[in-house]
Amino acid sequence: MNFVFSKRAKITTFVLMALGVIGIIGGLNSHNPHDHGGQEFWSNLLVCGFYFLAIALGGLFFYALQYAAEVGWSSQLKRVFEGIFHRNIPAFSIVLVIVFVASTLHLNHIYHWMDPGTYSEFVIPASVEGEHDTYTNDAEATGAQVNLGIDKIIKNKRAYLNEGFWWARTVVYLGVFIWFGNWFRKKSIEEDALDGTTLHVKMFKRSAIFLVLFAVFSSTLSWDWLMSIDTHWFSTMYGWYVFSGMWVTFMIFATITTLYLRDKGFLPKVNDSHIHDLGKWMFGISMLWSYLGLCQFLLIWYADIGEEVIYYQQRFENYGLPLIVMCVINFVVPFLVLMARDAKRNPVFLRLTGCLILIGHYVDVYLLVMPGTMYGHSHYSWWQPLMFLGFLGLFVYLMLNSFTKAAMVPVNHPFIDESEHHSI
């Protein structure tokens, strides 16, 4: 049975996307006196793009994990996971690439290590007042003076953080994710018309390879795209922290989507045990996220070294309230609400806490980006939530649209029988 995209759902997603367009227009015309050249708009685009790409990547990761670990219970939900990642990874890759192109062309200064003034040895002052200075490493260039504004730390990081290598990495990450996403989806649909386990074994092997790649890329992409915003600062926990955020947002999204599809009758054999298992993942990965967040904070707080503390200093000073509220929502709420067995089987509890944690993680991504790009001057105004809703609409639209393209429950998955009799 294929999913039928109801008129109501279609209208809802289109309304959300329309709100998003209004948000984008509002963002382009925003009047934050401290905002130079639309920095706040671009940062928000990065926040939204990364947040939703992260959900989709979490989906691809979890999907591969199910294959690599030969998991039976989730095989009925396979198409739900596929729908979440297979159109959304390319779509939100484009959003990120737009931000990255703009950064490279200096339309924004999200990545200030891209500014030649931070790493060039010499500067040729502009001849006309108001024009940009030229930077060079060539001492013989006419009119070259020593660049006093050079940033030694950024210059030392040039070997890794330079536009060419950074773009090469970005292209490899996105290429690998898109390729694997499409491949899994294609083979999964082929399997519907095929008997036997040939394809299953093939996907099992391929998913193991993907997990190895993802283990590396999930860390490095968070260094490249997010940690390099605070160029001087670094943390070895950062990649894991971002990764656990990806994973938990995906688990919540998958849970809410599964509940929706089950209510609409498209997943007739999904029982309370499946929902319970999804709830356990929600609970468990929320704890993983909190654990990694605390570990990162604890070491930095304990050591109290200036160059490390600056990261939290900025966040506590200017974003103290959202930071603490975010930690409460993302840790205390799932801990207290989802601890009990019955709560994990109760759709109302799962939906409510799920939506709350999804917002909490939006704030988390916001706090990963904003303090580094806007410092204390970011101003949360009406167009930012609209932009978020717009991308949410796009995400849900692409997901529901891909549900219509294939049978909602895989036909020939070797574990489908096990999944239908799942009981815990």
Partner: protein, 177 residues
């Protein structure tokens, strides 16, 4: 009337489950099932009450949390204020971050130990205790269902015996106690 206990032995967990369903449908209450491993899905059939072990675990862990915080407050704040790495001393709340790992570990320690000990006591399986399973093979490859006349006073001994034997147990014993 003499109080009697029946033990019906089966050689397969699925057979026991079917038998249990059958006799429960006929209105007999099963007192206990002895099995070498947990039988999936037997709880709702014989009507096992929900375990309260989780509540115990929470209370043990809470005890651990309080003890750890109380201990560290006494050692590091009250009795001999320690200045570690320039952190504000003489205040528990300002130092809470550095006490979290120990608090967490101690909560887990108390929770886990309390839970294990409670489980062993409640189960009657503390090392050294005399085993109360009716047949030694119920720890190996046999599955035993226990039915008492106490719990089924509305039925006659002959009726219970007849219904139990209709489930084809490998062995059916009837004892007074």
């Amino acid at each position: 009337m003499a109080r009697k206990v029946f033990h019906a032995m089966y050689d397969d967990d699925d057979k026991l489950k079917e038998a249990a369903q059958l006799i429960v449908d006929k209105g007999i209450r099963v007192k206990e099932v002895f099995s070498p491993f947990p039988i999936h899905g037997i709880d709702p059939i014989i009507g096992v009450k929900r375990t309260r072990l989780a509540i115990c675990a929470f209370m043990y862990a809470l005890t651990g949390t309080s003890l750890a915080l109380l201990g560290m407050w006494y050692f590091m704040i009250s009795d001999w204020p320690m200045n570690i790495g320039g952190k504000p001393n003489q205040s528990l709340i300002n130092n809470i971050t550095s006490f979290l790992p120990v608090t967490f570990e101690f909560s887990v320690l108390c929770g886990a130990h309390g839970m294990s000990i409670t489980y062993l006591l409640r189960n009657g399986t503390v090392p050294g205790m005399i085993a109360d399973n009716p047949h030694p093979r119920s720890t190996n490859d046999r599955f035993i269902m226990e039915v008492t006349t106490d719990e089924n006073s509305s039925m006659s001994v002959a009726d219970i015996s007849q219904i139990l034997s209709s489930t084809n147990p490998e062995e059916l014993s009837e004892k007074e106690y």
